[in-house]
Symmetry: C2
Subunit: 257 residues, 2 copies
């Protein structure tokens, strides 16, 4: 059943998943994770039990992805790279899908090689919840002012030290990042509004998008003024910013190379 | 804890739910259903254990609703009707939400009083699945031609005998219905297209929307020509139409009064 050994090759997968039922990307001994599922499916299609998958981003428990990228190496896949997703999808659970696979150099590193990433954060603003979208958004009851939230967001665009937006747990030496895009679109949805925040940067700190979302909502609901964002950036203190927004609103959209 | 008894009153609820984890609306002895959850929550807020909820539509296993309507009667709710949803939502599971409640006459019948209903059916057309939307659409791999599907849909608009689109199990004497609207919109989504079919009629036969969706996809993927829909209508034979499309694509959007 195992394909014969050949030359060692590296492949970059593009993965989409509904993270609701997983304890994030990274393999854990006692809990289901995306990495464990992907590696197990890769082992099945290659016959190589030791195959490892390395992602560009270790998404947290409950966080989703449309364009996660992960790299694996094997000498046991002889067909074209673009056949990998079809083989893999027959072995993956329904909430994880391989969208694409391409050949990459053997020393390709999915995070270091990337020039940036884009995330989406969705907020549903209404007095009653939307049960159909609940797995994909943060439900905020208090009325949000989109204009105020957009004004606040504008202070985050460009190169800044995002230390105040970094959760503890995975600290980075250098907390300066460049946010090249931060948009918030609103659309009428059921009995309220669905706000979609899209943020693109050359890199992200731990929980940075969820901390930005939580902080912008403080402005949106009128607890703080838009200019307060400047103070938060200048404070270099995580406690000054808003609370971390819940995971289900977050989705890794694309990793740029 | 129970509110005191007062005058008997009737209320019409508007309900939204993710039907994934339920065996449809109608109460069943061994399985979780929407009706059982709603009645149990109503019993909690009214203190009336015998309260019954009657829906305009007995949605099937896995079918969703944004605008289901259901009526209940009690003499134990003394506050304004619009307070009911907030009370009820604290007792309902997260995948069922009461959006609204209004006073109705005691003899109000949620189906007979209605002048029509609108359903949505979503189809995701791509070679690889979308795991984030999988609970809300039918994944069709074979390429769909939207123009052909729209041409086919046009034959169903107006007054017709929809006998061929009625599944067995809940037969109606009169199978003539008037479809006042049947639109199909397409939008690019992930690696494919998401097609949203919206159908409004003065009434629906058992599985009518899912049978229409299954039949239109036969045309969309090129197995039949659009004009074939005329033959299906004329055949008065369920076996001539396409297979019943799966439940997760279906959502009851609105009941008109």
């Amino acid at each position: 059943m195992s394909p014969p050994e050949g030359e060692l090759r590296a492949y970059r997968l593009t993965l989409a998943y509904d993270g609701t039922n997983y304890f994030g990307w990274q393999r854990q001994p006692e809990h289901p994770t995306i990495q464990a599922c992907v590696e197990s499916a890769l082992a099945e299609i290659t016959g190589d039990e030791r195959v490892k998958a390395y992602a560009s981003s270790r998404t947290d428990t409950g966080v989703h992805a449309i364009g996660q990228s992960a790299v694996f190496r094997t000498c046991r896949w002889q067909a074209a790279a673009d056949k990998i997703p079809f083989a893999l999808n027959t072995k993956l659970p329904a909430d994880i899908v391989a969208r694409d696979a391409i050949d990459v150099p053997l020393d390709f590193h999915p995070l270091r090689a990337s020039t940036g990433k884009r995330y989406r954060y969705q907020i549903y603003n209404a007095r009653k919840a939307d049960p159909l979208g609940a797995r994909m958004h943060w439900w905020v009851r208090k009325r949000i002012n989109l204009t105020a939230m957009r004004e606040a967001a504008a202070f985050l665009v460009g190169e800044h030290d995002f230390f105040s937006f970094q959760s503890t747990g995975s600290p980075r030496q250098n907390t300066v990042r460049t946010v090249s895009q931060l948009t918030i679109e609103g659309q009428q949805h059921m009995d309220g509004d669905l706000y979609t925040l899209e943020i693109q940067a050359n890199g992200f700190l731990y929980n940075m998008v969820r901390n930005i979302a939580g902080t912008l909502v403080q402005v949106g609901v009128g607890r703080e003024r838009p200019e307060w964002i400047r103070d938060v950036l200048a404070a270099y203190d995580r406690r000054v910013a808003g609370a971390t927004a819940p995971p289900q609103g977050l989705c890794l959209m694309e990793v740029y190379y």
